[in-house]
Every structure is written in C-alpha cells, then in structure tokens.
C-alpha cells in the first residue's frame, strides 16, 4: 500500500498522453499546465499518506 501511494503520482506524472491537451481550460490555463501544477501538491500529500501508514 505504501509503495502504491508512492508510485501512483509518478506514473500519472509520466503518463503524458493523459494530460497532453489544451481543454479543459481552467481560469484560462490549458489542461497541460494546470494539471501538472496541481499534481505537485497531490504527490506531496501522497508521500505524507505513505509516511503515516508507517513501515512497509
């Protein structure tokens, strides 16, 4: 479970076809840009969750 939490953000971040598009636009920002920016705090939270779960 811990490894899954650490792995998922990485896979999403590297799965380029998933976010390589302009729509949906948010506050004028294309999906490509806002999705990756939003993914940064989400990945930090995933590490936090993995850490809370404890060893292994």
């Amino acid at each position: 479970m811990k490894l899954v939490l650490l792995l998922v953000p990485c896979i999403v971040a590297l799965w380029v076809p998933l976010y390589n598009s302009v729509p949906p636009v948010l506050f004028g920002i294309p999906f490509f840009f806002w999705f990756q920016l939003v993914l940064i705090p989400i990945s930090a939270l995933a590490i936090l969750a993995a850490d809370r779960i404890g060893k292994d």
Partner: protein, 522 residues
C-alpha cells in the same frame, strides 16, 4: 560599456546583493565552530534539523536552472520546458525511499561523499575514483549554467560592450563567484539561503500576480503565447513548439524527467545538503516539504509564456525572464528581482564548487597522491580545487556550444547519472561487484558522451531506432528520441548486471544490513 546602464535597477541590485553577501560573512563568523574537522566544515556537524535542511536543500537544488534556464525553454518552444515539473514530482517519492538509507549508512560510517560510500560498500578504489571524477566533471556544466544566469542578469542591468568587453558580464559573474566561495566556505551560503529563498518567493509572488494583471489575465497570456508559437512554427516547419507536446517530444519529455530525477541526488552538492541533516526523519519530512519549491518552479516556468505574450525582445531565450522583469516592473523592483536571481545562482554555484572540491581532496588527492596531508594543506588544496572547478565551468561555456543554457545541466546529468547503479543498487544489495560496476560506468560514460556529440554541437537528446534489422528499411514507427543520460545508464546497468554474474567480488564490505535503517539509529 555603461552607456545603457539602468542606474536605479543597478543601485538596488548592488545594495541587496551586497547586503545579503555581507550578512552571510558576518553570520558565518558568529556561528563558527571547530572547522578543523571535515564533518564540521563540510556537513555542519550533521546537526541540521528539518527546517534548516529545507532551506538549505531548497536553496541548493532550485537554482538558475529554475529561474533562467527552464523559463527560457518554455519561452522558446512552450510545453516541452515543463518536463521539469514531472521531474520534480517523481524525484521525491524516490528520495523518500532511498535517501534515509544512504543517510543512515553514511552516519554510521562517517561517509561525507558518494565516493566514501562506494569505497566502503564495494571495497573498490577504482570505483571510488570513477565516482569522484564523475561528480567533479558533471558539476562543471552545472556551475556553468549558474554563471550564465548571473551573466544574463548583469547584461539586463545594461552592461554592454564590443570586442573583448563583450565578455564583461560573464567575467564579472565569474569574479563575484570566485571571491565569494574563496572567502566564505560552506557556512555563508547556508546562512544566505534563508534570505535568498525569501527574496525568490517575493519575486515570484509579485510576478505571478502583477504580470497576468498587466497582460489581461491568464486566458490572454496563453492565447497570445499560443499564437506566437503558431507563427514560429509557420515560419519554420521543423520547429516543434506549442502549448502542448508534439508527438516527437513525448519520448524526450518523459525520459528527460526520469533521467534528471535519477541524476539529481548523485551530485556532490545535493548529497552534501542531504547528509548534513540531523536525522532520517528530517529527510523524510523534506521529501514532503520540498515540493513547495517545485510549485514555485512551475510558476516560474510560466514566466516564459508571459515573456512571449508581452513580446519582450531578447538576444537569447535566456534573456526572457530578466527582460520580462524590466518590462513589467518599475526599475527599483526589477533590481530587487535581479538580486534575487543572482543570489539564486551564486549560492548553489558556491556549494557546488565546494562539493566538487571536497570530493577532489577526499577521494582523489588524499588516497591516490598524498595520504600524509596535514589539515592545513587539505583546506588549501580544497580552495585551489574549487577555483579549478570554476575555471572548468568557464571553459564549458566557451568550448561547449549548446542551443540552450539548460542543455549544460542536461549534459552534466548524462555523466552524473552513470554513478546511479553503484549508488542506488548498493543501498539494497551487494550482488553487484566493484569491477562490474566500474566497467558498466565506463560503458555508460562512453555511450552517453558519444550520443551527445552530433558533430556540430552538444545535444542532450538523441533519436533511438528500434527498427528490427531483418525487416530492413521499413519504418515501423517505433523509433523515438530519448534523453542520452537514460539510454546510457541502461547500457551501464545491463553491462554491470551481466558482468556481476562472472566477476564475483572478493572485496570486504564494511557495512552490514542494519546500518541502512535510520530508525534503528534513532
């Protein structure tokens, strides 16, 4: 040379830059300890708690790369420059797992550098030498990138010249860096990191609020940038640029992110910051807290698009951010931003040259040339070595022509990542032997370097052909381009893994499995 000098911006720049540097020197003296010991001098006694480590690593990892080089690529070709975002996303989960192990074993055995660990783990002096040389070699282009950052800021202040004076900005940048490092050692940059980071945050927040307001909102910025890219592509059909990735850019985008993430903590300066932490806990905390800087990196990358939308005039893409500051802000605040950018280049450059110099004295000179050195000789040699590394960085700028300043860092990464197998596999297993890893390293260095030279310039990305020979010239559409560092480290790994089956290691491993558990040390 001073005809076009922006007096107000220069005055503010000199004021803040001077004030912060002076602060660093004073603070360093005030916090002085017994610096005769390498542990004290080089790692601050491994006493840095979670917040100091946060500032130190943040100041150390997010450099002119972040504020000049990445937005320059975004300015020039758009979406592609954003690869630094997935890079900084994937690096932290990985560090969460590996870095506490490295910290623990280093604490237990008093390791200060990557070379120390490799020698202790594999008992192989040749591998230690290879690891040390790679660190020094790869640091030079990274420092070169910082010098370019400083140069661009000085240029934007209005220094200009013809002939020999055309090199004035880069010369000034070099002299500032050399004096700074020589006088201060590691303590001043660590102290300044606080102020420097605060200045960067002010600069970024102001830019991200004020500039979209001036340009009519994010919608208008992306629309204008999109049109500008369309116009560029219409003028040059070979150019891959735009607000999303072209199919040919996807491979490089992913592999650059992965390769850069693998290389990051192989660098001597990054490792120094991490090993100086007081506990494995402090490191884990930072893998969750450092993404705050990654967010800043992403926002700064957007400045490239804003510069494009604002239509600023540049000589090279690296001028985009400084010119945008002059366009958007009053001169005094532009001067403040320039000081922030300059310190953002100077602090890491100082730490990098010290890290490389430490590696040189500790893992090359002392074991191989003069084991009987006195501490005084050692510190003198380290200072001279740090100067030599900086001259190497200058040589890189003059003799390694690249399209983007970013390429300097990426080319350094091609070399740096070659110690990844020895370091990271070594944290988990001893199945790989010293000789096998050394030969794998050599293979990776040769493959990576030859892929990167295309006959005219140094390029970090290279097309790989996966076409099956039997099918002949039929294009299966499987060929794609990848970061040379990643291609080469795969070769490196395969060679090391294969040879490890044959070349069994007889050498002593001075570490034991429980040494890698930081929780057992606490």
């Amino acid at each position: 040379m001073f005809d076009h000098l922006n007096v107000v911006a220069t005055a503010v720049f000199v004021f803040f830059f001077g004030l912060v540097s002076a602060l660093g020197f004073v603070a360093a003296r005030w916090k002085a300890a017994d610096l005769g010991q390498i542990n004290e001098w080089g790692l601050g006694g491994r006493r840095f708690g979670r917040w100091i480590t946060w500032f130190l690593l943040g100041g150390d990892l997010y450099t002119a790369y972040t504020v000049i080089a990445i937005p320059a690529v975004v300015f020039a070709i758009g979406a592609f420059g954003f690869f630094a975002v997935p890079y900084t996303i994937i690096v932290y989960p990985f560090l969460y797992l590996t870095l506490p192990r490295l910290w623990a074993v280093s604490r237990k055995h008093g390791y200060v550098t990557a070379g120390d660990f490799v020698l202790g783990r594999y008992g192989h002096q040749g591998l230690e030498l290879a690891v040390a040389l790679t660190g020094i070699l790869a640091t030079m282009p990274y420092i070169a990138l910082q010098l370019v950052g400083l140069e661009k800021v000085i240029l934007a202040l209005g220094f200009s010249g013809q002939g020999i004076m055309a090199h004035a900005p880069i010369t000034i940048a070099f002299v500032i860096l050399a004096l700074f490092t020589y006088k201060s050692g590691l303590r001043a940059p660590a102290m300044i990191a606080f102020v420097k980071d605060a200045m960067i945050y002010i600069f970024v927040i102001a830019a991200i609020v004020v500039i979209p307001y001036e340009l009519g909102g994010f919608g208008a910025i992306f629309e204008a940038a999109g049109k500008a890219f369309d116009a560029k592509v219409a003028a040059n059909s070979k150019l891959a640029a735009g607000l999303t990735l072209k199919p040919t850019q996807v491979g490089p985008y992913i592999t650059l992110a992965v390769g850069s993430a693998m290389a990051l903590f192989m660098y001597p300066h990054a490792l120094t910051g991490a090993l100086a932490a007081s506990s494995g806990r402090a490191i884990r905390f930072n893998t969750m807290a450092l993404p705050a800087y990654s967010l800043v990196l992403g926002l700064i990358a957007l400045l490239g698009l804003m510069a494009l939308a604002a239509g600023v005039k540049v000589e090279t893409p690296q001028d985009a951010v400084p010119q945008l500051m002059l366009w958007a802000f009053p001169d005094w605040f532009a001067g403040f931003c320039f000081a922030a950018i300059a310190l953002g280049a100077l602090v890491p450059a100082a730490v990098m040259s010290i890290g490389a110099a430490n590696t040189f004295t500790r893992n090359i000179w002392k074991p191989f040339i003069d084991p009987e050195m006195t501490p005084q000789e050692e510190s003198l040699l380290a200072k001279l070595a740090s100067l030599a590394v900086k001259i190497g960085a200058l040589a890189v700028i003059f003799f390694m022509p690249t399209q983007f300043a970013l390429d300097l860092q990426l080319l350094g990464g091609v070399w740096m990542v070659q110690i990844f197998p020895a370091m990271i596999l070594g944290l988990y297993t001893r199945r790989f032997s010293g000789w096998a890893l050394l030969i794998g390293w050599a293979a990776g260095m040769i493959v990576g370097t030859s892929l990167s030279w295309n006959g005219k310039a140094w390029v970090p990305v290279h097309a790989l052909n996966w076409d099956i020979p039997l099918v002949g010239d039929v294009d299966l559409g499987l060929g794609f381009a990848a970061y040379n560092g990643l291609t080469a480290v795969l070769v490196n790994f395969l060679v090391a893994a294969t040879l490890s089956l044959v070349l069994r290691s007889q050498a002593v491993d001075e570490t034991s499995p429980e040494d890698y558990d930081d929780r057992a040390l606490a």
